[in-house]
Symmetry: C2
Subunit: 769 residues, 2 copies
């Protein structure tokens, strides 16, 4: 755990130059706009420790699977998002000496991520080996308003000399992924151009043939005034640059404003990329840096209006929650249904930038409440469009008749992961994908989605479950053998309660959806039946039989749902009795020891209780919580949020707050010692859930929002925005009670502490605590 | 399945040139002498499909582990036997045109592996593109009498022309392993020399620094008469050659006799390798090819005298059983306790040439009966000397206090394998290693072995088991969680019956051995206690408690031991009801489907019953056999032998014979379509067991041999040699009964059909059927 980030309500601030934290800061100060993004690398050369990263959403490479021992059913490829052309680079020479902070004396270094307005600012004073001191300020952003573009303003002032400053803005496409299975480079050059004040390179990905054109136009300023200077151009393979030399007096300044754009063949014919790129670059340079920056602030202001959480009385918590919301918005905007939310967003390569069940289980609630419903719909459509590949994936494993198994990890719908115990067995992910449909329809009332898309997915998933169970002659019940639950610290278990629960719930929900669609859209239903060869009578009879006769492991003595068959054969030592030196067990223990222990990595039975809370009384929830939480090591960043929400539900405010703390500053404080690989983007949605569903106690109940809030002891108040079926509410929880403002023109009814409240358009009311 | 091998009682014969079978034949016709060996590659160049292989026992390379997803506890390296310098190569030019059977018209091709005398002979007629026909005969062997040497006689005769024959004997050390994780070459050159009639190269393995000098001396014959001709020498990196040109008339012949030797730094100081090599080469050339060949026949005759099995009335069975015995003897002679038996011997690289539990479970019975007891003792000492590494391996997984987990796969005692479900969980291997000690002592009565070596291993293994179990508060018994049994078609199961059985048996046997050694060798016992810090009272109390309170899964309804917890939850479809198109399931099914099925790869519960047969009555054995065999797919070559022995025990002669057939010609008929990778050496010992313990019903009973033979219907008789405590017996089973000849000077008593029989020295008797 590190605590070098300065607390500020709207900014992330690092003061002082900490080369040893540089890769962590590069992750934390990352920028993105849903379309492209980058780590907070320096513009000028840096020979110190760094992980360079520029990313373009949706552009991936199917890297040949690397495996120790092949198992039938493994995928051939792992599709991973690519480290793309570096567009931020500006080489700087000071009287001929290269500016490189690893080789200078650095003072007054600071980085600021302005979350309110969406830009990164860095300032420092550097003294070169030759003793020349310069002040540097650089501001950059990825435009939210114009999401194929970004801009940088880089200003340098001699402090103790007058001399020559050479600025060389460049585009470098000769990039290797750090995460490459066979040490290949994934990009080929298509073409490039360089001229006096700009240039571009167009690259093509190997195998997938995506083309991306990355270019720049730049303006040179001397003492803030644009000047036209002769430049020398350079090019080599996948690289273009233009060098400008200025004479700058002590105390005066030279600047370069670098306008950049990234265009992808996903959005333009490849042959037209360069023309469009040049038009885009010309357009933004004409607009100018300050105007772009103002548009950026405006775009972010719009975001914050809908999704800010304000915490009074705890600046660190305030900063943390905003950081989480900020990063989620940088990662996914919902504009494009071909994109999704990688676990590291645009902050690193780890996990291949692909889609996991994190999206459906953790991110969907965030986007449902804080963005237009089309954003979540696009996340759902992403899976709908990949249904064919999920069916192929199930076929590869021996399933039939349109059964679908969604991949554990994917970029384009094909499975990428290749550990059998995960790939083939962590099948509960199918449940989260069905649950997201349920959650979306429950939240938005967009029942039409079921008829148009949802039911087709639900039937395919139900078909999978119905084939995946088998009848146990011994138990005279259906069982589910050989699975891995959310608790990946056990593999190939029988009857994981959560998975069995998801399976029957999915089959039941599919049957309910069949009834709904049959009533509401009989023609669409008929078309679907014929399209997917759905034998309603026979298949639903089978679903019904399984739902009725499914086996659920249960312990009569403890009166808890059992994690899996045989769980109580394990030695039951609680986490509190585990020496601190042995944790985290995933670093300290061998894998077999982890598997044999009773320790649970992340919410599993409790994840099921969280999803299907309405089915359980408080006593049942409490018994299971009290049994499982003490056995849970929370070594997944996705675990504490579920516990925070359930603890809040059980009225245990102190523990709810404790669990919240474990996620909210996870990256800012490098809690798990791995932020240098990138930020934990999807678990940030879990932090949001802790506040809204935990402290706010928000649920959807019979088509209405409902709140059971409490105020964490340290806070004066907290307030948040929630969009719900056309209404936009601001909920403020303080000692005085719950204040509800309706910021929209739509009347709405909410439940607060089990009482219904009408909130008129543009009105507000206070429910006393 | 292929049937191109001609049946002959003493030879393996291939007639006709079958390039499509070449790699299979290269495996089948392999030569070895326990010290070195090679696939049956051609001496002359061959551009067709081939897997080149020369191997030197005990010389290995630790290839960096290749893994998809790292798990804590994985080994860093996979030590593998190396493909070593090619010493058989002889380039042949016919009037300037290279002899290459892939480019010639080939007729009268034959290969013969003479098992009686231990050599490989190949003859063919080839017509070159230029139309020149030659007859070629080549004979070669790896000397059993002089195990660092080998020789080749290569004779070529022009059939339809007179002309120039150029012969270039060479040594080529520029060899790459086919099985290399990162496509590296593993050998560096140390030095080389080449002179008129010989040369050598000395190579060093990367990382391990083994040095091997491989050299040749040759003699040229013209019409069988030695001639002295000028030669031209060549060298390049890791390669030396000498070229001789002869003018040969139609119908006459030219020959080269190539004497070769392989010396390793395991047996000589590296600096003295080349001197010793030259001496060895000089010595064998002086001896001459025919003398060496006669010594070879003599050495093999000695082997056969002790281990031949003679089958009358079934030539194919006769050939097959001899082939199995021949290959076992080629692989391991027991001369060197640093060596062991790789699953492919010297016939291929697959499985890295390392040691598996196959040695203890399948090969030990063969060597006990057919070789001097020191051979088996050396196999035991191999593990004894690796005890320290087995303790380190257990430590890596979190075990303490001198607990040992022997590796699943090893070359030098360190674990090589890296699939967690095997490496960490297939721990029953520890049981086989203890069982081999028991088996050796039972067979030889060498109780001193326990005091000197065995007990130390047994206590370390018992310590492992005592830590590996845990107390189930739920069951109020000890359980063993997270294991993989011999049936690798299930992973990470709880309470695999076989593993639990082995665990308690090991602990009990360790306690028995403690008592024995304490009585027989109190001083040695005291020394051991102090060496390994053995707290007898406390530790044996713990062993005793576990033995008394171990849980064994059992099904009351079927009255069978249960493969593992939850086995009866699986859908119970018998193998006979599985469509042929779905088999073998390891090729046709996805891994998860295999795991979820009830199908068993190889004997598991039955393996336990085989080992501990005395503990079970016939009814119990029959019930378990009748339950498990129909669920067993025998997709391991090690499965049928155990079934053959138990079927014989149960009096089911037809099935015993059926199971025997499944192993005996496994490689000769390429039954599993994988003989091209090498022969299944360790399963050949299983074939021997099928005959001796199955048809012969041989057991050791109260320190005496016991036989319950029956004659397979198709056979007139079968007979075999058995060495037992100084006596050498020949047992012949025919319709007349069981004839026992004592070929030794020691009197012995044997049980035949439950009646004791005294067999006097050099006497014989007949027990009527």
């Amino acid at each position: 755990m590190k605590e070098y980030i300065e607390v500020d309500e709207w900014k992330i601030i690092e003061r002082g130059f900490n080369p040893q934290h540089n890769k962590i800061s590069e992750s934390i100060f990352s920028l993105g706009n849903g379309r492209m993004g980058q780590r907070a690398n320096f513009e000028e050369a840096y020979s110190g420790d760094t992980l360079q990263g520029n990313y373009v959403a949706g552009v991936y490479y199917p890297d040949k699977t690397r495996v120790g021992w092949w198992k039938n059913g493994y995928p051939e490829y792992f599709a991973k998002v690519l480290n793309a052309a570096n567009w931020i680079g500006i080489d700087v020479l000071i009287d001929g000496e290269q500016l490189d902070l690893a080789k200078c004396q650095v003072s007054s270094f600071s980085r600021e991520l302005n979350m309110k307005e969406g830009y990164l600012k860095r300032t420092f004073t550097a003294k070169t080996t030759a003793g020349k001191m310069v002040d540097v300020e650089t501001v950059r952003f990825c435009s939210m308003a114009d999401d194929e573009t970004g801009a940088i303003k880089y200003t340098i002032s001699p402090v103790n000399f007058s001399g020559k400053i050479t600025l060389t803005p460049f585009i470098d496409g000769d990039i290797a992924n750090k995460d490459s299975n066979y040490d290949e480079k994934f990009w080929d050059e298509v073409k490039k151009e360089i001229w006096g004040d700009g240039g571009y390179i167009q690259l093509r990905t190997k195998k997938t043939g995506f083309e991306v054109a990355t270019g720049m136009l730049f303006t040179i300023l001397q003492n803030t005034v644009p000047v036209h200077l002769f430049s020398t151009t350079f090019e080599k393979e996948k690289y273009v640059a233009a060098k400008v030399e200025l004479t700058v007096k002590q105390g005066e300044s030279a600047s370069v404003i670098k306008y950049a754009a990234n265009l992808s063949s996903q959005n333009y014919p490849a042959a037209e990329l360069s023309v469009n790129l040049k038009q885009t670059l010309t357009r933004i340079r004409k607009k100018g840096f300050e105007t772009m920056l103002a548009e950026q602030a405006e775009a972010w202001s719009g975001k914050w209006k809908h999704n800010d959480i304000i915490i009074e009385g705890d600046a660190a918590a305030q900063q943390a929650i905003r950081f989480n919301i900020f990063q989620l918005n940088q990662t996914y905007t919902g504009e494009d249904d071909r994109l999704n939310i990688g676990p590291k967003g645009f902050t690193g390569e780890k996990y291949g930038g692909s889609t996991y069940w994190d999206t459906e289980a953790y991110c969907v609630p965030f986007y449902l409440s804080t963005a237009d419903q089309k954003v979540t719909k696009n996340l759902l459509l992403y899976r709908y469009k990949q249904l064919g590949k999920a069916i192929d994936n199930a076929k590869l494993l021996g399933f039939k008749n349109g059964a679908a198994l969604y991949p554990m990890v994917t970029m384009d719908g094909t499975e990428c992961h290749n550990e059998w115990e995960i790939t083939f067995e962590e099948i509960h992910r199918n449940g989260a994908i069905a649950y997201a449909i349920f959650n979306y329809v429950r939240y938005t009332a967009d029942e039409a989605y079921l008829a148009d898309y949802g039911l087709e997915v639900l039937i395919a998933i139900a078909r999978f479950w119905s084939q995946r169970v088998n009848w146990s002659a011994d138990k005279q019940q259906y069982v589910m053998l050989g699975v891995t639950g959310p608790n990946e610290y056990e593999n190939n278990v029988n009857n994981n309660w959560y998975t069995n629960k998801q399976a029957t719930w999915c089959m039941q929900y599919a049957m309910d959806a069949v009834e709904k669609v049959k009533q509401a859209a009989p023609a669409k239903y008929a078309a679907l039946v014929s399209k997917i060869n759905f034998n309603e009578a026979e298949e639903t009879a089978k679903f019904k039989d399984i739902v009725a006769k499914m086996y659920f492991p249960y312990d009569e003595k403890e009166r808890v749902f059992l994690q899996q068959d045989g769980y109580l054969d394990k030695e039951q030592i609680l986490v509190k009795d585990l020496p601190a030196t042995e944790r985290p067990i995933n670093q300290k223990w061998s894998w077999d020891r982890i598997l044999r222990s009773c320790y649970i990595k992340q919410a599993d039975v409790l994840q099921g209780i969280y999803f299907f809370e309405d089915q359980y009384d408080l006593d049942t929830i409490r018994r299971n919580f009290d049994f499982y939480e003490p056995r849970t090591v929370h070594e997944s960043s996705l675990s504490p949020c579920v516990h925070a929400i359930l603890a809040a539900k059980l009225g245990d405010e102190a523990r709810a707050y404790e669990f919240y703390l474990r996620t909210s500053r996870l990256d800012l404080d490098d809690y798990n010692n791995d932020t240098e690989d990138g930020c934990h983007i999807t678990s940030m949605a879990g932090t949001w859930m802790s506040v809204i569903e935990g402290f706010g106690g928000m649920r959807v109940k019979d088509g209405k929002l409902s709140f059971q809030p409490f105020l964490p002891g340290k806070w004066r108040s907290f307030s948040f925005h929630i969009g719900f079926r056309g209404a936009l509410l601001n909920i403020k929880v303080s000692k005085d009670g719950v204040q509800i403002k309706n910021l929209s023109g739509s009347e709405t009814t909410v439940w607060v502490y089990d009482k219904e409240q009408l909130v008129k358009p543009d009105d507000e009311l206070l429910v006393e605590a």
